[in-house]
């Protein structure tokens, strides 16, 4: 190798060494630079990681604690993630369960799924989407969904949504609707007229029945004052008074005489109640109207009939008195004439004639007694007007004075008699007839009459017991019938016990007897308290 060659090689080596040195330097510089950048990157990364963790845990918190069901699914509806609320709503067991949302759709609403997905993909979100589902437990639910697409690098990768259970809400809604419909139908179809008026009595609403009742069209009614249009007596201020009551919050019923469009007078029974707004202010009233004209007419008819009955009862009473007077007068005259004949012919009649005259007198007396008894019987009417408190002890004591009680007969009251509400005359007749019968038909040496009472829940049971002749069983029924005297004697007309029965009937009681012939009789009767 020549020097020249060596020189060339030497220089080349020299250059190479220099450039390597330069390159090494550059490398060194670059390396330092890189280290610096790397350090910066590391710091940023750490910051980002913290930030990411923070946000992520925040989101996780929201995700877990949100009340609504939150679900993330892939584009085919497979659940990627869901919270506890979603587990509960959809009927899963835990948040790690797998499932496809489209599989949960109620079979009847499957056709709603595709358009919804389409909308979601095209617009990136869907709101107010309602659909019926069947949960994992096969429970029907109505849910409300708001969902949006999740993008990665501008590409849709998943969708997230909030699912809300609106089953109950919709049931309430439906229940309210049903109720509303029910009442609407009642109002429309009921036979009662319904009117809503404001505080000035101006009609706001009427139903069909009211239109028919009043004879006016709906247009003629609404906007007009109900009272002015319909009330028969224009001077009456019933409506005003009633409206005042509504303002005070009172509800009540009242009767009103109205004149309908054709001019007929009708009677209405109105039940009115105040109508409130949402704040609780009275804004008018609602009235239910029932046409009671027919009922009213019947009532008037009844009143008239009662009046007539009362009058004819009175007339009958008068008639009984007049008849009794007219029947008694001739008897009196006969008696006077007989006496005169006897006086004028003193000592001239034989015994038989004198006896016959006596028989005439006895017959007259009996006849008069009969007339008196019939009058008494017919005077016992249902008229219980003269009621007062009657002490029966005092009444019986009085009777002992009035009645002729022979020496050998004693009358005892065993238990204290009550004080009852009644008509004194009738109660006196009742006890008098029974006691005097007990006296009359007593054949014992020591006659004993016992009056007693037993208090029952709703009535008093009285008894009048004697030790007299007794009454055979076969007569027990008919002795209470008028003119059924068992003993055709001077004193008995056969009316006494029928008077007793009539009075007991009046007091809504019963009368019966138990008796053993020759031993005595006990009459029982009840009087309602």
């Amino acid at each position: 190798m020549s020097q020249k060659d060596v020189e060339i090689l030497k220089r080349a080596l020299e250059r190479e060494r220099a450039s390597r040195k330069a390159a090494e330097k550059i490398l060194e510089e670059k390396s330092a630079e890189l280290f610096e950048v790397n350090k910066q990157l590391e710091a940023t990364n750490a910051e980002l990681t913290v930030l990411y963790n923070k946000t992520s845990s925040q989101l996780q918190g929201v995700f877990e604690n949100i009340v609504d069901a939150y679900v993330i699914m892939d584009l085919w509806g497979n659940i990627l993630k869901m919270n506890e609320a979603a587990v509960t709503l959809l009927g899963f067991e835990n948040i790690h369960d797998e499932g496809n949302l489209t599989a949960l759709v109620d079979p009847t609403e499957v056709e709603k799924v595709e358009p919804a997905f389409k909308q979601l993909f095209e617009s990136g979100s869907i709101t107010d989407f309602k659909i019926k589902i069947r949960t994992k437990q096969n429970k029907a639910k109505l849910v409300h969904i708001n969902a949006s697409i999740v993008y990665e690098d501008g590409k849709p990768v998943a969708a997230q949504g909030i699912v809300r259970d609106i089953t109950l809400e919709s049931e309430y809604q439906r229940a309210i609707e049903t109720e509303r419909e029910k009442y609407r139908r009642i109002i429309a179809n009921m036979n009662l007229g319904l009117v809503e008026v404001n505080n000035d009595d101006v009609i706001q609403m009427v139903n069909q029945s009211f239109v028919e009742m009043s004879g006016y069209d709906e247009d003629e009614l609404i906007g007009n004052k109900g009272g002015e249009l319909l009330i028969a007596d224009k001077s009456s201020d019933v409506i005003k008074q009633e409206n005042q009551k509504r303002l005070e919050g009172q509800s009540n019923s009242y009767e009103l005489v109205v004149k309908n469009k054709t001019g007929d007078i009708r009677y209405w029974l109105i039940s009115g109640a105040p109508n409130y707004d949402l704040k609780g202010n009275v804004i008018g009233s609602i009235g239910i109207h029932l046409d009671i004209t027919e009922f009213k007419n019947l009532q008037f008819q009844k009143e008239k009939l009662l009046e007539k009955l009362e009058r004819s009862n009175e007339e009958l009473q008068e008639y009984a008195h007049i008849v009794s007077h007219d029947l008694k007068s001739p008897l009196r005259s006969i008696d006077a004439l007989v006496q005169w004949i006897k006086e004028d012919n003193k000592g001239e009649f034989d015994d038989a004639t004198t006896q016959n005259f006596e028989l005439i007198e006895t017959t007259l007396e009996k006849m008069e007694q009969l007339i008196s008894d019939v009058l008494e019987y017919s005077s016992i009417t249902a008229d219980l007007k003269d009621r007062s408190s009657i002490d029966l002890n005092a009444l019986v004591e009085d009777l002992k004075q009035i009645l002729f009680v022979p020496e050998h007969i004693s009358i005892n009251i065993l238990n204290k008699l009550p004080t009852i509400e009644g008509d004194k005359t009738k109660l006196q007749q009742l006890f008098q007839n029974l006691i005097s019968n007990a006296i009359k038909f007593n054949d014992k040496e020591n006659g004993l009459i016992e009056i007693d009472v037993e208090e029952q829940k709703s009535y008093y049971q009285f008894s009048i017991k004697d030790n007299g002749v007794g009454i055979e069983k076969k007569h027990h029924e008919k002795i209470f019938k008028i003119f059924h005297a068992l003993n055709k004697s001077k004193e008995s007309t056969g009316i006494g016990l029928s008077i007793v029965k009539k009075i007991v009937d009046l007091y809504k009681g019963e009368i019966w007897l138990s008796s053993t012939p020759n031993e005595g009789t006990t009459f029982f009767f009840t009087i309602k308290k």
Partner: protein
């Protein structure tokens, strides 16, 4: 005892006879004026110079009945002072009340037996014959 001027208003002939006969058998010297009904009685009462001391009045009469007669009597300034005793068969409480309301001096029920009648009339007449009466 003084003798009375008695106006008997009675439509029943035998009742009229009964009073006369009772008076006679009781040996009383009262003067009995008879009227068969209310109208007749009012005619008699027109003679103010000869008014009766007392009036015995039956209630059940044709034309003007006893109560109507009583009302007319009590409405008259002069006649209202004549004591009027009702003599009737009616024990109707309503009649009794009505009579006392209008104004009567007594209410006597006609008994069935003639002897009871005589006894009642005796008491009635002896009572009124010891009374002081006014004439307006």
């Amino acid at each position: 005892m003084k003798n009375l001027n008695i106006l008997l208003i009675e439509d029943d002939m035998i009742e009229v006879m009964k009073l006369s006969r009772a008076k006679k058998s009781l040996q009383l010297e009262h003067n009995i004026i008879e009227a068969n009904n209310g109208e007749e009685a009012l005619q008699i009462l027109e003679d103010k110079s000869n008014l009766p001391d007392i009036i015995l009045l039956d209630l059940n009469m044709p034309k003007i009945n006893g109560i109507e007669f009583l009302k007319i009597l009590k409405a008259d300034d002069q006649l209202r002072y004549i004591p009027t005793i009702v003599l009737t068969t009616s024990s109707n409480q309503r009649d009794l009340l009505e009579c006392y309301k209008i104004g009567i001096a007594g209410y006597v029920l006609k008994p069935l037996k003639y002897e009871d009648y005589v006894s009642k009339i005796e008491k009635l007449l002896s009572y009124w014959s010891v009374n002081e009466l006014i004439s307006v």
